[in-house]
Symmetry: C2
Subunit: 229 residues, 2 copies
């Protein structure tokens, strides 16, 4: 019975992904036409996606015109936090949905004054697995890990690491209190994605923030090859 | 187009869940017939599921006959860690699968000598969302959060909190280094599940471990009402 369900699932998943890809392509075309660089930020619950974006938005004030879409199962807490630093924030409530989909991004973009935006952050639902397969139309995928999660998390989430244009290792301020060997983490990343930049950051202390902002500026300027997988 | 995909998805998901429920019921019947108490341990990547089970298995040596099923997208690392403390460990590789399903548990149970087991831990895939909806046939669902994830994670994952028979808050040893207000976390849990026990633990220092072991013993003795949602 379970096996039967399994065999019927594959074609449907493919249809869902195809439909998603069409909407993602339209999102991407719209954003590129307007010269808006966009980041799909993917990390586990509590990896510090919102805290990193708070610090980023604060630093970008007066330098960039950002907007943020933020996905959560429930609560508006992240959206409220980010709205302190950015005029254009849309909270997407996914209910039981474990990732954002391109049509949610399309609908959220319709609520934004895109003429006043040159940088778009999409904070995906806290999840290292499901968001990876759904193209949203972003320019770049950023995988965010936290030192508190342990040094083995890159190897255990190969699809995110392979698809990422940048790997951020957050909460480096906690390293003195953790058994976390950064060289293990980085070696696992390198096996999966030899060329991806890896930046250590702390959204709390601000360590590494300048390197992350510099990456963003460079990527936005060069029009980083759009990630489409 | 995306909307069309959305409408066709619901009945299929229901069929998958029905098929899963049938297998889960058979798993549950098998485990109950043998008097094996079983725990489905659900937590985010890096919340400390494996570390908690290592400490638990070490403490239970000579007192209980445990077995462990452990789900991961990739690598055998968790299984290898747990096998140091337990003779009967089965690693379930889910590939891109974001949660365990009942048929994977059924197949893994067939690899175990159940005559030599009286306690079964199922370490689900690191994910706070998808594992919640899939009954595995367990006696109890335990939701594991980590202090490093932030005090807002219960409110943001209401389905897990509502379904949990026990909430564990791991990494309490890191509290001095974090902005984490335990009363906020506990108030959010209480709103969603007023009677669920909440235990603070540290897999690293052993703090709170005795209370967790006592809960396990009590639940196993009393045959805690099986969680079926």
């Amino acid at each position: 019975m379970a096996e039967a369900a399994r065999t019927t699932r594959i074609p449907l998943v493919e249809r869902v992904l195809e439909a998603n890809d069409e909407v993602a392509a339209a999102n991407r075309a719209q954003l590129e036409r307007r010269g808006i660089f966009s980041v799909d930020l993917i990390g586990a619950p509590g990896s510090g996606k919102t805290a990193l974006l708070e610090a980023t938005l604060r630093a970008l004030r007066g330098r960039r015109q950002p907007a943020v879409l933020v996905g959560d199962l429930a609560t508006r807490r992240d959206g409220d936090r980010l709205a302190r630093w950015c005029d254009q924030v849309v909270q997407i409530s996914t209910g039981q949905g474990c990732h954002l989909e391109a049509n949610q991004v399309r609908d959220a973009l319709a609520e934004i004054d895109l003429d006043a935006v040159d940088l778009l952050f999409i904070e995906n639902v806290g999840n290292l697995i499901c968001p990876v397969g759904f193209d949203l139309g972003q320019s770049a995928k950023v995988g965010l890990f936290s030192t508190a999660e342990g040094e083995d998390k890159a190897a255990k989430h190969p699809y995110l690491v392979e698809a990422a244009d940048l790997i951020l290792l957050n909460k480096v301020d906690l390293l003195p209190y953790l058994a976390f060997d950064r060289s293990f983490f980085e070696a696992d990343v390198r096996l999966l994605n030899p060329r991806v930049p890896i930046l250590g950051v702390s959204a709390t202390t601000g360590e590494g923030l300048e390197a992350w902002l510099a990456w963003l500026e460079r990527a936005a300027r060069s029009g980083l090859p759009a990630s489409t997988d």
